[in-house]
């Protein structure tokens, strides 16, 4: 949903878009919507991100169709069930596959493409959960934390090639991923996150928290000494 909301902003601004997802009927529904909202053109392609062998093909298809890319947004993800992962390495591995390795695989191709091109923007959705490991959520947290760290290095590498790498760290967002949870004060709508992403791209930011106040919440969380942190029920 965050991806859809962001794509709408680009559609309204008249961009050409290339959507990649695993579900064909959802892809079509979103593509139709973006066309009505004003996108110059919308193309779609099917990809299950766990199918690593197709990553290069998919990226090349996008490059060819759009006649080159200016911007990519990587926004897929799943929220693992922490307790189930504690009992199953297979499950943990799969979650790392979706949330971490697939992203790294895509980024490997994309980084080289943009590096050659000498310009462009790569925006990737990580999470505040990747800022510190917590007992309730450390499988997801470490999967996202790896992405955050990877992007940090990539940003450093691509800076000289004029490529902007943006790490987006949303807090709680009301989307299918979090359905069934009680939604309180700190929750944001995907449109809000989309807005932050859109502006971050425009302003060539490096790391953005969405909404902004998470920067300070996470600052505090990270400052708690480990000696104390390990005793907390977080």
């Amino acid at each position: 949903m965050i991806a859809q909301a962001t794509a709408r902003l680009f559609a309204e601004a008249g961009y050409s878009l290339y959507l990649v997802a695993r579900n064909q009927s959802k892809l079509e529904a979103v593509a139709d919507d973006l066309k009505v909202r004003g996108a110059e053109a919308v193309h779609t392609a099917n990809l299950d991100v766990l199918d690593y062998s197709q990553h290069k093909v998919a990226i090349n298809a996008a490059i060819n169709t759009l006649d080159g890319l200016d911007l990519v947004l990587i926004a897929h993800g799943t929220l693992p069930e922490q307790k189930a992962c504690e009992q199953s390495f297979d499950l943990t591995q799969k979650e790392f596959g979706i949330n971490t390795l697939s992203t790294i695989s895509l980024l490997t191709y994309l980084a080289n493409y943009f590096e050659d091109k000498g310009q462009g923007t790569i925006a990737v959705i990580s999470s505040v959960a990747g800022d510190r490991g917590r007992q309730s959520n450390y499988v997801y947290g470490s999967a996202k934390g790896t992405v955050t760290l990877y992007l940090q290095g990539l940003r450093n590498r691509l800076h000289k090639s004029n490529v902007n790498v943006i790490t987006v760290k949303p807090g709680f967002v009301d989307t299918p991923m979090t359905s069934g949870m009680n939604k309180g004060l700190l929750w944001a709508k995907p449109e809000k996150i989309a807005d932050t992403i859109f502006r971050a791209i425009d302003r060539r930011r490096d790391v953005v928290y969405a909404p902004w106040f998470w920067r300070y919440i996470m600052l505090i969380i990270r400052m708690i000494p480990e000696l104390l942190f390990k005793r907390l029920n977080l």
Binding site: K35, L79, P176, M181, N182
Partner: protein, 450 residues
């Protein structure tokens, strides 16, 4: 599924309320994100479900106490828009405001719009809403070409005037009971620009209203009156008559679209609560306009949606919520009936902040339980002062009952079953089309055996 569970901030999630914030009920909610999902009937063998749009209904038509709400707001994708013909197809959770954002700049407007743009297409169909152009255009349902109805057994019924016409008419004004509308196709109205040529006329009493309305309804697309509820005697029913047409062309320099250019003084939020401040407000409102007539060209938003300028204005009535009361009365009796109602309100002195009066036209709706009837309609707001308010509303019911009028379910939280059943003669026919897994607080209330 515990996620972030150690530090979750649980605050009551207020989304699933109706606009009047009365009644308050216990219910669960599920979100439908995609039109091709099936309904969660497997989880609720013993519980009923009810589609929920954007909660802009005032009473309990969008509530399902003890049951499950299906939040349809996230099915909010456009499907196709033909800028030549003005035919728009979209999912049912799209808001009217979102439609306007996309279509106005391309020369198309909603054929019918209620007084807020924050309602979903599904909600607009289910209550078969009307607007200031009812006398010319009829209801929203008159412009619905087709839609898909998703039933709890998984059936998907395409409905139009010639395909499953019975489900088509049971669903328009069907109060969400026949199934979930997943998408709909609408015929929009062509406009040259987003402006309205508006004229506001101060009139002195009910007779003047009826005269003005009859005359204006011939030549004006949109007409409505704001009534000073607390005026009595000779001045009973006095107010401002507002009429407008889509502007042919923009006069002078392009006026800046801005919702702050309000024609109405909608500022005194805290004054709404007690009788004294109401009195002051109604009177100030009436005298707001010094000259008898003013003409201007206004952007469509302040013309159609003056109340939308204050988001969440419903909270100003406090946590007990408030009642909206809207009735329709047939032409022959309308003068007396409206007079009688205004008199009763004037007497009790717990007047309404907003009183809106309009003549309905005779264009029939395809809807089986559609609210409008040829005649007049009056809409009123009352703070919830418990028994006192309920007693007054019961008295108003008596007037309606006597003359064969009816009350609008979209705004109701308390009408009696007898009055619903007398007002909506087709309610029994409706039962055949109701989905066996769907029900609402309103429906259980108004079909209860006396």
């Amino acid at each position: 599924m515990p996620y972030y569970s150690g530090w979750r901030f649980d605050v009551a999630y207020e989304r699933y309320q109706s606009w009047g914030r009365y009644p308050k009920v216990e219910q669960e909610a599920r979100i439908l994100y995609w039109g091709d999902e099936s309904l969660p009937t497997y989880e609720c063998e013993d519980k009923t479900i009810l589609p929920f749009g954007n909660g802009r209904s005032y009473g309990d038509v969008c509530l399902n106490e003890g049951g499950i709400l299906l939040d349809c707001r996230h099915m909010d994708r456009f499907i196709k828009f033909d800028t030549e013909t003005g035919i728009l197809r979209c999912e049912a959770g799209v808001l009217l405001s979102e439609i306007l954002q996309v279509t106005v700049s391309r020369g198309w407007f909603l054929p019918v719009t209620p007084g807020t743009q924050f309602v979903t297409v599904g909600g607009a169909i289910a209550n078969d809403v009307h607007g200031k152009n009812h006398h010319k255009a009829g209801t929203f349902g008159c412009y619905v070409r087709r839609f898909e109805l998703l039933r709890s057994d998984g059936a998907r019924i395409i409905c139009s005037n010639d395909e499953n016409a019975d489900f088509f008419s049971a669903t328009i004004g069907g109060l969400g009971l026949t199934g979930v509308i997943t998408w709909a196709e609408l015929q929009l109205h062509h406009i040259n620009n987003p402006f309205i040529d508006q004229e506001i006329i101060r009139y002195r009493n009910l007779d003047e209203f009826f005269e003005l309305a009859r005359e204006s309804d011939q030549t004006y697309e949109h007409t409505v009156a704001w009534v000073d509820c607390l005026a009595t005697g000779e001045q009973l029913g006095r107010g401002l008559f507002i009429r407008g047409n889509y502007a042919e062309r923009i006069e002078g320099k392009l006026p800046q679209p801005s919702t702050t250019r309000l024609t109405f003084p909608v500022d005194p939020p805290f004054a709404l609560i007690n009788g004294l401040t109401l009195k002051v407000f109604n009177s100030v409102y009436y005298h707001k306009q010094w000259s008898k007539r003013t003409k201007s060209q206004v952007y469509y938003e302040p013309f159609f949606y003056p109340l939308d300028a204050i988001r969440a204005w419903n909270k100003l009535y406090g946590s007990k919520g408030f009642f909206q009361y809207q009735c329709a009365v047939p032409t022959e009796q309308m003068k007396n009936a409206i007079g009688e109602i205004l008199e009763r309100i004037g007497k009790v002195g717990i007047g309404s902040f907003l009183a809106v009066l309009k003549l309905f036209g005779d264009k029939p709706s395809p809807g089986l339980l559609s609210f409008p009837m040829p005649g007049a309609t009056l809409a009123l707001d009352f703070p919830n002062s418990g028994a006192k308010t309920l007693h007054l509303l019961d008295q108003l019911d008596a007037v309606i009952r006597e003359i064969g009028g009816r009350i609008y379910p979209a705004k109701d939280a308390r009408m009696r079953p007898e009055d619903f059943q007398a007002g909506y003669q087709h309610w029994k026919t409706m039962e055949a089309y109701i989905d066996p897994h769907i029900s609402s607080s309103l429906w259980r209330r108004v079909t209860a055996q006396p």
